[in-house]
């Protein structure tokens, strides 16, 4: 594996009219590496993702793919270069089948000329195979409606889809935010699987625990700028949380809650009781 980052941002600024959203963002991800982007709500994570995914063009600075500067003409262009984004709700359509979801926008067809027909059998077969390869064995029927799957399965389906379509960079936008503990663990396993297959993963989250489980490299985003940039094992969970919250308060708050819970059978403090 080469040492050139698959995707790199150099001093990227993004502003919408007079409002500056991103300042001097520089980051890079190599193949087989997971970069965790941490940040509180409103820190500019979404704008950063959209810039990486080709939705927004940076106002200043440059985006490099395989060490070469590129300008994306749109999300499709970024995708063609192997940059896939999986959003919080997975970009899946609840009232459509697994097979159709999997091949959305890239439908396999049979037939010729204007009579090209969506090849349901092939689509379902490949979709089920690929999803199972990622470790979701509960999906066996490609005709199943995605609305009947759990949140974690939907995320995994979306990730499996991106991997199948040759993604080299996987941008995961808060994939675990709306999930329960088990479901989140499932998604994290799939992130590891993607990493093992040599994908560069950008994992956006505000759950530090999830980030620490899979991340090799971390960047904390505060008010549109990178406030900290460090590698695995360089900082503790508490330190990261504090960074995200922008100060010491968070640790104090957590400590006081934990202290309270220890003495009160695990119940959190009542807000009105103070």
């Amino acid at each position: 594996m080469s040492d050139t980052p698959v995707i790199e941002l150099r001093n990227v600024d993004k502003s919408f009219g007079p409002i500056d959203v991103l300042h001097e963002i520089s980051l890079k991800v190599k193949a087989g590496e997971v970069l965790c982007l941490l940040g509180d709500n409103g820190a500019g994570k979404s704008t950063l993702i959209k810039t990486l995914a080709g939705v927004h063009a940076p106002t200043r600075g440059e985006v490099l793919v395989d060490g070469e500067p590129v300008k994306f003409s749109g999300p499709k262009d970024a995708q063609n270069r192997g940059i896939a984004t999986v959003h919080q709700f997975g970009g899946t359509y609840p009232l459509m089948s697994v097979g159709r979801n999997f091949f959305m926008g890239e439908e396999p067809t049979k037939g010729f000329g204007p009579f090209k027909v969506f090849d349901r059998k092939t689509a379902n077969k490949i979709a089920v195979e690929e999803v199972q390869k990622m470790g979701i064995t509960r999906i066996t029927d490609g005709d199943r409606l995605v609305g009947g799957l759990s949140g974690g399965e939907r995320q995994s389906l979306a990730i499996a889809r991106a991997v199948y379509f040759g993604a080299r960079v996987l941008i995961l936008d808060e994939p675990t935010a709306a999930l329960g503990v088990k479901q989140a663990a499932h998604v994290l396993r799939i992130v590891n699987e993607a990493k093992k297959r040599g994908l560069a993963v950008i994992f956006i989250t505000h759950q530090v625990m999830h980030a620490m489980t899979v991340g090799d490299h971390f960047a904390v985003l505060i008010r549109g700028a990178i406030a900290a940039d460090f590698r695995k094992g360089e900082k503790s969970r508490e330190e990261i949380t504090d960074l995200m919250a922008g100060g010491q308060n968070m640790a104090d708050l957590e400590a006081s809650i934990e202290g309270y819970m220890e003495t009160h059978d695990g119940h959190p403090p009542k807000v009105s009781a103070d």
């Binding site: 939705v55 999300p75 709700f89 009232l95 009579f115």
Partner: protein
């Protein structure tokens, strides 16, 4: 047509039958048809009955199909109500008043529909105006323009046009004195829309836009282009009906398309299309249209008070939405239970 759809369903297991979005509308159609068959008797079951409701169904159906596809993609089109008279007026003015060849009139009329659809699509995709409002605005604008055109050219609200034999034969004749030729056009349109929505990859895209527009765009689907195309299709459908009307009745009226607005939406909803988009089927829309037409015409055969017909259609609409929700929930649960 009923046998065709029940045959199709019988090939599947009960589970996949429930999963199909048109199951509710099929049951609705059977219930309504049996009800009026009992009340209407032999006349309703014979050719006069079939022709009367099929003629109505074909007219509404040609508009309901694209309106249904639009609804699946999450948009409404109210402007069809004034595109119908606008296109028949355009055809009558071009071919009747100015005595140009019938083809010019037909293309002119269809052009009106495509243009209105294109403008609708532009407004909806380029601005934040919801399609419901945008197309109501277009409806009034087109209505005004149609009236203006008729008064300007002819000085009256009605323009007559006697089509040549071939055009009349193709677009406005009654086969056997009963069955309007539109029925065959309708069947043709059903086949085309079925292909587009359920067989071609484009169909997946239409569902995806209605399910989650943002994700669809992220998946690289040309959402704006597709939305504009769908609006143009519904304008085309409405214009087609307008032309068929002028060929049939040999005159174009300024007003008189308003009933198509709610009727087409009703057919689509009875046919199981989700109002908020993302679900529906062409077979469902077909069944919904047939149900609507049977109620609409069955009333006369059953010699009931016409007002009862409106009540039945109203109740049917509510029942359809309720049962569609139930069937949709069943479809999801069926999938999860299987494990």
């Amino acid at each position: 047509m009923t046998t065709q759809s029940s045959e199709q369903a019988s090939g599947f297991s009960l589970g996949s039958l429930i999963r199909r979005p048109e199951t509710g509308s099929l049951i609705g159609f059977i219930v309504v048809y049996v009800f009026f068959a009992i009340l209407g008797g032999a006349v309703f079951l014979g050719a006069p009955g079939w022709s009367s409701w099929l003629n109505i169904a074909a007219e509404v159906g040609i508009i309901a199909l694209p309106v249904g596809l639009l609804m699946i993609s999450g948009e409404f089109d109210m402007s069809v109500g004034s595109v119908v008279p606008a296109s028949s007026m355009m055809a009558a003015v071009l071919s009747g008043h100015y005595e140009l060849p019938a083809l010019v009139g037909i293309l002119g009329g269809l052009g009106v529909g495509l243009l209105v659809g294109f403008v609708n699509g532009l407004i909806v995709t380029r601005t934040t105006i919801p399609s419901l409002i945008a197309t109501i605005g277009m409806m009034f604008a087109v209505m005004g323009l149609t009236l203006g055109l008729a008064v300007l050219v002819k000085g009256s609200t009605s323009v007559s046009y006697v089509p040549d034999a071939t055009s009349k034969q193709l677009l406005g004749t009654f086969i056997g004195g009963m069955f309007n030729v539109s029925i065959f056009w309708w069947v043709g349109f059903v086949a085309i829309y079925f292909f587009v929505l359920h067989l071609s990859p484009l169909g997946s895209w239409i569902f995806a836009i209605g399910g989650d527009r943002e994700s669809a765009r992220n998946a690289g689907i040309p959402t704006n282009k597709l939305t504009i195309t769908l609006f143009m299709a519904s304008g085309f459908g409405a214009a087609f009906v307008g032309i068929a009307q002028v060929m049939t009745y040999q005159a174009a009226q300024v007003a008189g398309g308003q009933s198509f607005i709610f009727n087409s939406i009703m057919c689509v909803v009875i046919g199981g299309v989700l109002l908020t988009g993302g679900a529906g089927s062409v077979i469902g829309i077909l069944l919904g249209t047939m149900t609507f037409a049977v109620v609409n015409q069955g009333i006369f055969f059953a010699s009931l008070d016409p007002n009862v017909g409106s009540i039945i259609i109203g109740a049917l609409l509510l029942a359809a939405v309720l049962s569609n929700d139930t069937f949709r929930a069943l479809a999801m649960n069926y999938a999860t239970k299987k494990k």
